[in-house]
């Protein structure tokens, strides 16, 4: 009886407390969101990447996206303000290819299905080094040679549950000798072709079986029709029903395509979801060999030649011989900065600047795949400008060009309305020597601040 009373009393009190609770629940998010819903970066020199440079500019961020860019904007009162105090704001830098911090063995052969997803431990990755260098996003590939996997683009915020921005972005190819290039490419596409043929055969086989089954069913039906005259009854009806049930067409289950070859199958069949190939040109002659290797694949013969390349950091070979071809094709080239010399001479020339002036999409990579090299990129960008690259191209080579190549150009790469709010605040102009990253912002949140170190 007492328990009942207590319960009754509690249930009487419930509606009020419940209501209060619910009200609290309703308000809190708006309280929370009200304080985070709008973030403003004030007082920065904003280099948008689209050609505009706004001194004492402001960027308004809502829900992790840029909503306004300009100066002397109207800012909501409860907006969170990030004071830039004259720092320079650029879109977050993007590193399209890296294998830092990965575990496990190197990948070899034709393994287009390998990704980094089972090769890293998120909590143990050194995101800090990316953020300190100013990189807000990175394309990870497994380390290795041959067709060593496929790239995943992630953002580099330290703690995140939804890090992945895009999967299956591109297929890297890394081969050092021309002989292994020919061999591996042939092996890869022969494999893909045999998968396609296997699929075709399986389908044909199934079709044939269906045909035969249909025929059998028709013959059975005929027999039925004959028998129907003599035998009337449920038995035959039920039999009919059974037959009709059996006649219902089965779903065709295609045999699985080998995952390591599936992306190549997509390429051969010219599907929309086919990933682009990114080929490392470790020596200049490899460019000619790449063309020959792909011309030898009959499905690829009439298509445009390969157009995305990674040039090495040390360019002591005759790279000047292939520059013209790259410019003619308006290739996309990922290349570490640096001056080259004509082989066996002191005559200097600058490959990235020349390619950029010639109309290629130049993407700047760090000189080597580690933290110190990533930090050195902005100062090396200034060296690129000194050797003839334009400011715009140099900045684009770490922001909008990699974004475009990775297929994230509508989301990242420049400071424009509607794009993700990933930025870097530099002390000093980023392309002048001495610039340092002061703050890195992802999704409107400051995820790295030099003053906190």
């Amino acid at each position: 009886m007492n328990q009942k009373n207590r319960t009754m009393r509690m249930s009487k009190a419930m509606p009020w407390s419940w209501g209060g609770f619910i009200l609290l629940l309703l308000i809190t998010p708006s309280l929370l969101f009200a304080s985070d819903r709008v973030t403003v970066i004030k007082g920065a020199t904003v280099i948008t990447g689209t050609g505009e440079e706004i001194s004492s500019g402001e960027v308004v961020i809502e829900d992790g996206k840029i909503s306004l860019v300009g100066s002397q904007l109207e800012i909501p009162e409860n907006a969170r303000v990030i004071e830039a105090n004259g720092l320079t704001l650029i879109a977050g830098m993007i590193l399209p290819r890296t294998s830092q911090g990965l575990l496990g063995n190197r990948v070899g052969g034709v393994s287009c299905d390998q990704t980094v997803e089972n090769r890293w431990v998120d909590e143990e990755m050194d995101w800090d080094s990316f953020l300190e260098a100013g990189y807000v996003a990175a394309g990870f590939v497994p380390a290795g040679t041959g067709f060593h996997g496929q790239a995943i683009v992630v953002h580099t915020a330290p703690e995140s549950n939804d890090r992945i921005l895009k999967k299956s972005v591109f297929l890297p190819i890394n081969l050092s000798s021309s002989a292994s290039l020919h061999r591996t490419v042939k092996q890869a596409f022969d494999g893909a072709r045999s998968e396609i043929e296997g699929q075709k055969k399986a389908r044909e086989k199934w079709d044939k079986e269906q045909e035969e089954a249909k025929k059998k069913a028709e013959e059975a039906k005929k027999k039925e029709a004959e028998n129907k005259d003599s035998e009337k009854g449920k038995a035959s009806d039920s039999k009919d029903k059974k037959d009709s049930k059996d006649e219902k067409p089965q779903e065709y289950k295609a045999p699985p395509i080998k995952p390591s070859l599936k992306p190549l199958v997509d390429i051969l069949e010219n599907k929309d979801e086919a990933m682009p190939l990114v080929i490392s040109l470790n020596s200049p002659g490899l460019l000619l060999h790449v063309d020959v290797a792909f011309e030898n694949i009959k499905e690829m013969k009439d298509r445009d030649p390969q157009n995305v390349f990674i040039l090495p950091s040390s360019r002591t070979g005759a790279f000047h011989e292939v520059m013209e071809t790259l410019i003619e094709r308006k290739s996309t080239v990922m290349i570490p900065p640096g001056v080259s010399a004509l082989p066996d001479t002191y005559v200097r020339y600058h490959v990235p600047a020349a390619l950029s002036r010639g109309g290629c999409e130049v993407i700047t990579l760090p000189k080597s795949d580690n933290a110190a090299a990533m930090r050195a990129v902005p100062s090396l960008l200034s060296e690129q400008v000194r050797f003839g690259m334009s400011f715009e191209a140099a900045l684009a080579s770490v922001t909008s060009a990699p974004a475009k190549f990775l297929g994230l150009g509508d989301r990242m790469g420049t400071i424009e309305e509607g794009k993700d709010a990933h930025f870097v605040l530099f002390e000093g102009h980023p392309l002048k020597p001495g610039a340092r990253v002061m703050k890195t912002i992802i999704g409107g949140e400051v995820v790295w601040d030099r003053e906190d170190r």
């Binding site: 004509l342 082989p343 066996d344 001479t345 002191y346």
Partner: protein
Amino acid sequence: MRISKSSILFTFLLMFTSMAGLSTVTHAETLAFKVGKVVTFDDQERVINNATVIVVDGKITAIGKSKEIMIPAGAKVIEHEDLWLVPGMVECHNHTGGGSSDLHDYVYLTNPGLRTLESLVPDNPEMVRARAGGVTTILTIPGSGNNMSGFGTILKTAGGSVEESVLKAPGSLKIAQAGNPERYFYGVGRSFMNFNTRQTLRKAKDYHLARTEWEEGKLAVEPAFNLNWEEFRPLFRRETVASVHTQIYQVLMTTVKMVAGEFNIRTVLDHSTFDAWKVAPLVNENDSIYTINGPRQLHYDRTQRRLMGNAARWWQGGVRKLGINTDSPVVPQEELFYQASMACYYGWKPYEALKGVTRIPAEALMMDHRLGSITVGLDADFCLWTGDPIDPRSSCEMTVIDGEVTYEASEKRVF
């Protein structure tokens, strides 16, 4: 007068035999060479077509156009209207005088008391090939494994004994400034090598000066005789030369400044390869330095992606006392002429190149009063060639040393 049949028969036989022209020559005291061309490299640099050279007792006594030269009575005439007569070639950097062994003895970083005179093997197979290649005089020096490996000997490539073939001993002092000596023992660097070379030369010079004073009566006590330093005396009297193995321009600068400059030694720059031509202005300041380039005739310049001919670059730098060597057996001795061909391939000029294997090395070794050119009074050391000697298509048909035919291709062609 009644002439007997037998005497007439005898006269006819005599006529016939003399007209038949005996082709075998053992040793004629007087020879007359009638040839198509003589390249003399004498002081007037004469080249005479349809010429005759008279040799008496191993010396050249007359040179001139065949029309103008009187062949002495009793001379053995060797007539080859289609051949050239060129002075015997002179090799400044040979290691095969001792046959193909006995290249080098090195115990200390400098052990100059050694002499190749003791290791000569006269008329060894390499010498036979040298003669077949037109080389009549060689300076055999020890190797370059240490900084000062001994004294070399100048000898002719014929002669059955050392006494017969040796022309001058000491022929030169062999100094190696850098390169091979760096591998000596535990490995030594240029600072130590140059110090060591200097102190050795200093000690030798001091000995020489002391002995000179004693000889002039200025000293009371005779300075002790020292086998190591005694051979240096002609060097400091400038009666013989130093053959210096030196290459790369920094090392050549040391040679020019230290050996030639500081110690006032007549210097022959052997090798002088890689980019040593850059030292040409310094070399030109010193009249007694000879540059004998080889065996590398080509240098791939990795700062300009160019193939440079060493001799050509020296010449373009203004050096005129320029010759060529083989460093045999690195390049076989009989291919001394081919080194000259290669120098021309890479930019030098043929007449200068031929002079660079005949007259210039003779001058470099201070032997030009005896050989290196076709001049009256010089030794009869020359060869008969089927054409331009530095054209590989020509061959040496006959080699004459001291007036004796020491090689005849028609008997047995060696090269």
